[in-house]
Amino acid sequence: MKYLFDSLTANWNLSPWMTTLALVLWVVVITAGVLVFMATFAGFTSWVERRIAGRMQSRIGPNRVGPFGGLQWLADGLKCFLKEDVIPKATDPVLFRLAPYLVFPGGFAAFAALPFGYGIAASNIDIGIFYITAITSLVVIGILMAGWSSNNKWSLIGGVRSAAQIISYEIPGGLAILTVVVLAGTLNMHELVVAQGGWPWHWFIFRNPFTFVAFFIFFASILAEGNRTPFDLPEAESELVAGYLTEYTGMRFLFFLFTEWANVWVISALLTTLFLGGWQIPGITDLGATIAAATSLGKWFWVLLSVAMFFIKTSALVFLVIQIRWTLPRLRVDQLMIMCWKYLVPMGFVTLLGSAIFLVLPREGAWAWFHLSVQGIMTLIGFAIVAGLIGRAWYNIHALKDRISLENWL
C-alpha cells in the first residue's frame, strides 16, 4: 500500500527523516490492520464453519451468543484466554512455549501479500506468490516443534506426519503455481490478477484444460499444507487423539487453531488470485485505466467493487473448503504419499508442460478462434460441474421426499 502512502504524504512536504518516521508508522498501522482483519476473520470463520457443519449434519450449530450466535467465537476465545495454562512437567519447556508463536506468523505473514482488491495489499512484493509459498511452510517448523516438545507419543507421531506431509505437498503445489506463473510471466500477485480478466473465460482456471487440472492439484496440495480434512493427519482426532495439539490447552491451543482458520482464508484467497481472476470485475478489461480515468469518488467505487469481487469469490471457496472438510474421510499416511507422488506430482508436470505448449501456440488468425473456443468449452465444463452439483443436491432432496426449508438458517 506504498502508493496510498505516497499519495497521502505527497502534499505534506515532509523532511526526509520525517518521511521515514511516517513510513514506519504507516507500516505499523497497516500491520495492525491486517492483524485485526486476520483475527476477526479467523474467529468469524470458526463460527461460520460450525454453522455450516451443523447445517450439513441436520443440526443448527451455535446460535445463542450474539445475533444468530455470531459472537460465539469471541466467547470461545475469551474462554480459552481465561483457561489455566497447563504445561506438562515432562515437556521441553522452551520449545513447548515457543511452538505456537512460530506457527502463528506462518499464517499471518501470508496476509501481507494477498491482493484484496485493486491496489489493496499490505505489500505488493514482486515475488509475492513465492513469498507466500515460503512463509506458509514456516508452519511446519512450529508443528514439528510442538509435536516434539510435548513429549507425548501421539504428539510426536502427529508432528512427524505433518513434516512429511507439508514438505511433500509443496512440490505439486509449486508445480501448479508454476503452471499459472508460466502463463502470466510474473510472480507478482497484482500482475497475476492483471493477466486474467473479469469474465470467467478470462480466468486462468478456464484458460486451457491443463490449468483446469492444475486448479484441482493446487486445491488438493494447499488443503494438505493447511492440514485440512481430508489431509488432517497431523491432528487426526480418531487416530492420534489430537496429534501435535494433544498437550496444549487454553491460549496456546487457540493459537494453533487460529492459524488453521486464518489458513482457510489464505487457501481460498490464493486460489482466487491464481485461478479465479482475483479482484477483476466482469466487463472491465483494464481496471487500472478505469480507475485512473475516474473521479476521486469513482476511484473509491471501483476499488471497493474490486474488493467486493474478491470477497465474493473467496467466500465461495471458503464455503467449499469447509464443505469438503465435513464431507470427506481422512486419508491414510501411505495413501497420502501415494496421492502426492504418484498422482499429483506427475499430473503437475503434465499440466506445466501442457500449459507451456498452449503458451507457445500462435495466437493470430484462426488460432485466436481456437484459443477462444478452448476457453469457452472449459468455462462451459466448469459451469456444468457447478450446475451438476446443484442438480444432484436437488435430486438428493427429492429422493428422500424432503422439502426445502430454510428454518434456522441463520
Binding site: S58, Y395, I404, L406
Partner: protein, 199 residues
Amino acid sequence: MLKQYFKNIKNASTSIFEGLAVTLSYMVRKPITIQYPDRIEKPLPEMLPPTFRGILEVDTGICTVCMACMKRCPLDTIYIESERDPETRKNYLTRFDIDVARCMVCGLCTEVCPTGAIRHSTEFDAVTSDVINLVMRYVQPGDKIPAYKVSKEEEPPGVPQNEPYCRLKKQWDAPAPLQPDEVRGAVRWKKQTSKQEGR
C-alpha cells in the same frame, strides 16, 4: 495398469462429487434439532408419548399398601412403611419414599401395581444440587393415609391409560424437606432387610 490409474482418478472425483452433493443438499433441509429446553413449542414432557418411562410418581390416595412394588424392585429403590391401627384394624400408609437417584426406570414396579397408584410420569429432568433431594417423599412424616380398598364392583380410580400424567411437576418444584440422617436410616434399613443372602 494405466487404465487402473485413470479409473482411480475418475472414481475419486465422482465419489467426492456425490458426497459434496449430499452435504450441499442438507444446507437447505430442515434441521432436526429440538432446542431443549427454552426454544420449544411446549414442554418436552408433554411431547413425549404416554408410554414413556420417566420418573416414578405415586398417587397415595389409591395405594393399597400391598408393597408389591417394593418387593419387585431389583434395586430396592422403593421404601414403604405401613401401620395397622389396633382398634379399627385398618391399614395406614405412613411412609412412601422413592429414591429417584437409584431408580433405573425399568418399569417393573408399575406392572405389579393393582391400582395404578405408582406409575411413570413423562418427567425426566431430575436435576438437583443435592442428591438427597432426589428421594421423593410421597407421605410427609407424621401423616397417615388410609390404605385404599379395591372393591370388586367398581374399577379402581386409577389414571386412564395412554394419557400423560404430570402431577409430579408441582411436587418437584418444592421437594419435601428431608434430613440426611433420615435418608441414611432408610438405606440402612435396605441393607438389613436385603434379600441378598449368600449361598
